[in-house]
Symmetry: C2
Subunit: 132 residues, 2 copies
DNA sequence: CATTTATTAGTAATAGTTATCGTTACTTGT
DNA sequence: ACAAGTAACGATAACTATTACTAATAAATG
């Protein structure tokens, strides 16, 4: 039986109060304003617990580090290839495709993840070579 | 001006000859059959060079490690949540959605990535709790 | 209040990837 | 064929996000 702790509640509150899909480290420094001696390991452990209980979702798309999302329901994202920011995309999730592909392939499909990539409004003018 | 080397050619050949979306480490051990003293750093360096020149693509989806794909053209994938294998999905890429979302949001959208998740045929019977 | 046990802070360990550096070998031009 | 210039090499160290470990702490229960 999981316990409700000050640390877990603070982490969840931080994550629910932003739309920025933050990294574990960002959450860590934000929660430290309230609990200065919280451990980074505690942040990671609770993010996993919260994910396991279905209260948040983890964005393990793209490369080097995970981002977390206070919204546990499946939805689409846009990632800016220049500044790296991630935005929600308000587009209905197409469940029919899951069924059609499942039929065709024999896979059992639970859901799909979709990420658009490009340039956000702010980054659109000053274009650069992609490095990653 | 990039040079053609034995190492780079071997890495590209290995990657083009499989549909398994291998990791850098898998490629490393396969190439070592031909070039036993090749360095893992060389594998990584060449994978990046090949990606930069558009000859392969990198799947930096899901968490811990990258997978690589000898097919540089955008296409969809299915990932089995039990065995972790990645399969190509032969479904046309829906470019219209990119345009519609771009219109709606003001983002410049280059492409999108789509990954189906579920259970492959082999894993379908012996179900387990998801751990990641 | 006493017991139980999940959780914590702190720290060490892990793992994938990248950086560094002296040496090698591919390319180009004579 | 030879020399010069330089991209790429192998070996290894460094980096970084994440996880594991452990003795101490604090929720939950009744
Ligand atoms: Mn989101
Ligand atoms: Mn593929
Ligand atoms: Zn941007
Ligand atoms: Zn499977």
């Amino acid at each position: 039986m999981p316990k409700r702790t000050r640390q877990k509640e603070a982490i969840l509150r931080v994550l629910k109060s932003t739309t920025s899909h933050p990294t574990a480290d960002w959450i860590y420094s934000d929660v430290r304003k309230e609990i200065p001696n919280i451990s980074l390991g505690t942040v990671y452990r609770n993010l996993k617990l919260l994910w396991q209980s279905g209260e948040i979702s983890e964005m393990d798309f793209s490369g080097t580090f995970s981002r977390f999302d206070g919204n546990p329901d499946n939805h689409y994202h846009f990632r800016c290839e220049r500044c790296g920011r991630v935005f929600d995309v308000d587009e209905p999730v197409n469940k029919e495709t899951d069924d059609r592909v499942a039929q065709k392939t024999g896979f059992k499909i639970f859901y799909h993840r979709l990420e658009f990539r490009g340039l956000c409004r702010e980054c659109q003018e000053s274009r650069e070579v992609r490095t990653k």
